[in-house]
């Protein structure tokens, strides 16, 4: 194996090394710890981009850990979808980390930097792994880190929401294990590629059980993705936590969506007998409801953080509308929108942070308050982020929604999907216009806030996210081609099995 082959494991190794080093350095020399942490983020982005370049040749690469051959050992697999997710996670992490350092949010507690990197370790591992039990382990890693990050900065409200968040996820983990147990009991393997072959070869007697296992697995992923009716944990958690942490968590719901996109076409795809596309009839109505509930929440939200949390929910719903059609074209549209929605959601949270730091006692509440420093610039940035989040031209949300509308046009219930996407967009526009005009336009005539924040350095991170969205818009053709190529790989599951296991015996 050459060094390039070992690059596959770099997104897991880098945070594994950086996190404990940052933990050690933070006690004595804070600056060294912060520098290490930032360098780790940059290195991770570099590794992800390199892997993205490697995946451009359309080959699927398997990396057997410890040299154990595939069905017995654990493999990491890099294909186009994984590469896209790695780049997205690394880019978002770098921006969020810069914002946390600039706003000194990382000094509110001891362990922000180590937890942040453990979170990335879990994310990258979940994207890379080719083994279902290993996916469970990486889910736990990212959850444990997220519990710590979610409570970062403390406070009673955060602790209350934290208890609920942890309990929901522990129950989710229990369901995950039951689904894994069923699948292992039926097939005798947990390697995804091997599962794909063995589920297709199951006898008649086991068809009912494999359907149950598939639905349980998808329930767990739907819980992580916060799909209605499993969404109740999300608004409370994301509103209570620090906005900069919530911005990183924008990708956490997308991990659930990623896991669906990864497992369903591969294991429960066309060849799976009675379990073929088993979640489809359930996921579609749930996605419609998620989009509606999310954007209704955007309209009803009392503050910017709550609004951003519901916006995230709505974007997951819109995303799953396309995913739940389970065709190559709709999956390509979903992948493009996934990248966009993650960045746009994070931008909204960062804008909430920028605004609440300047408004003093008014914080992020969507009511008219006194004027504050940097109001115009903040208002313009919020406008850009909101335009992206609801999907108005000219930013990539519009391109993404258009792509989804076009892709679902051929499906039987296209008019429901069109009505949902267009209707929720309108509701979202009204919701963001209401809060934006209250916060940035109206003034209640009181004396300007003499806020402690004068520097505009904290505009950099949301500006960077909006710039990334701009790049995604201008490079729309290229990004679309990337999404289509990734979807084409996903809908040729035999290529995945071939890459991991070799030719069928």
């Amino acid at each position: 194996m050459t060094a390039l082959d070992h690059l596959v494991i770099a997104p897991i190794v880098i945070p594994t090394i950086v996190a404990p080093l940052a933990l050690l350095a933070m006690r004595r020399r804070r600056r060294v710890g912060v520098a290490l942490s930032l360098a780790g983020c940059v290195a991770m982005l570099g590794a992800a981009l390199a892997l993205f370049g490697v995946a451009q040749d359309d080959a699927i690469r398997a990396y057997p850990l410890g040299g154990w051959p595939a069905p017995f050992g654990i493999v990491l697999v890099i294909d186009r979808l994984t590469a896209i997710m790695l780049v997205l996670a690394a880019a978002l992490a770098l921006v969020v980390m810069v914002h946390a350092v600039v706003t000194a949010m990382d000094r509110k507690g001891w362990h922000f930097h180590p937890l942040f990197h453990f979170q990335l370790l879990g994310l990258n591992g979940a994207f890379l792994t080719g083994d279902l039990f290993n996916l469970f382990v990486f889910f736990e890693v990212l959850l444990i880190a997220s519990y710590g990050l979610m409570l970062h900065g403390q406070g009673a409200a955060r602790l209350k929401a934290g208890v609920g968040y942890v309990i929901v996820n522990i129950v989710g983990s229990a369901l995950f294990l039951i689904a894994l147990g069923l699948l292992y009991g039926l097939t005798g393997t947990l390697n995804m590629a091997d599962l794909a072959r063995r589920v297709a070869a199951l006898g008649m007697a086991d068809q009912g059980l494999v359907r149950i296992a598939g639905l349980l697995l998808l329930t767990v992923f739907a819980l992580k993705a916060a799909v209605v009716p499993l969404h109740l944990w999300l608004p409370r958690t994301y509103t209570a936590t620090a906005p900069v942490v919530a911005a990183l968590f924008a990708i956490m719901t997308k991990v659930g969506v990623y896991a669906m996109i990864r497992t369903v076409p591969l294991i429960f795809g066309a060849g799976a007998g009675a379990a073929a596309w088993v979640p489809a009839p359930w996921l579609m109505p749930a996605a419609v409801l998620t989009a509606i509930v999310g954007f209704a929440g955007v309209l009803a939200a009392r503050g910017m953080r709550e609004q951003a949390a519901f916006g995230l929910l709505g974007s997951t719903g819109t995303l799953l509308l396309a995913v739940a059609c389970w065709t190559e074209a709709t999956t390509a549209a979903a992948l493009f929108y996934l990248v966009h929605a993650t960045l746009a959601g994070a931008a909204l949270f960062l804008m909430a942070d920028v605004t609440q730091r300047r408004r003093g006692p008014y914080a992020d509440a969507a009511v008219a308050g006194p004027r504050f420093a940097g109001q115009q610039a903040a208002g313009l940035l919020f406008l850009a982020a909101a335009i992206a989040a609801v999907g108005l031209p000219p930013l990539s949300g519009f391109v993404g929604k258009l792509f989804i509308l076009q892709a679902v046009a051929g499906t039987p219930y296209w008019w429901i999907l069109w009505a949902t996407v267009l209707g929720t967009t309108l509701i979202g526009v009204i919701g963001f216009a209401r809060s934006g005009s209250a916060i940035y336009w109206k003034a209640d005539g009181a004396d300007p806030v003499a806020g402690p924040v004068r520097s505009r350095a904290d505009f950099a991170a949301p500006l960077a996210l909006v710039a990334l969205l701009g790049v995604l818009t201008l490079g729309g053709g290229w990004a679309t081609a990337q999404a289509q190529a990734a979807a084409a790989q996903l809908f040729a599951p035999h290529r995945y099995s071939l890459a991991v296991l070799g030719p069928a015996r």
Binding site: F133, V137, E140, I144, Y147, L151, A156, L159, K160, A161, G162, V163, G164, V166, I167, I170, V171, S173, A174, L177, I178, L180, G181, L182, Y184, G185, G188
Partner: protein, 119 residues
């Protein structure tokens, strides 16, 4: 005669039922107990997916040809470790939440009797 399968299955069922009931209660202590019962049930279930066999070694023993499936045992070990850590975390968290908010309700809202104390 009661078979081994029936005993294990009913034990898992009873543990799950108790766990779900307790996990739906309002106070954190009961919820923690419920989660613990639920994780016992899941661990037993994982242990049983390798099929129930008697007198077979998991890895190697001289002169034995039939082996039990060792993988579920490895899986259940991982699951136990993770659940143990999670349970410890949720105990600490609910304790902190109780100390900060003066209420041991899961949703953090004090019930009628405690309202005077919390205010």
């Amino acid at each position: 005669m009661m078979s081994l399968e029936f005993l294990i299955a009913s034990a898992i069922g009873v543990l799950t039922a108790g766990g779900v009931y307790l996990a739906l209660r309002g106070r954190t202590f009961q919820v923690v107990l419920g989660l613990t019962l639920l994780s016992y049930a899941v661990n037993l279930f994982l242990f049983a997916i390798g099929r129930l066999v008697v007198d077979r070694p998991p890895l190697f023993a001289k002169g034995v040809t039939d082996h039990a499936d060792p993988l579920p045992q490895a899986l259940v070990l991982t699951a136990i470790v993770i659940t143990f850590g999670m349970t410890a975390l949720v105990v600490v968290l609910s304790l902190r939440s109780f100390l900060e908010s003066g209420s041991d309700q899961v949703d953090g809202i004090a019930d009628g009797r405690d309202e005077g104390d919390a205010a």
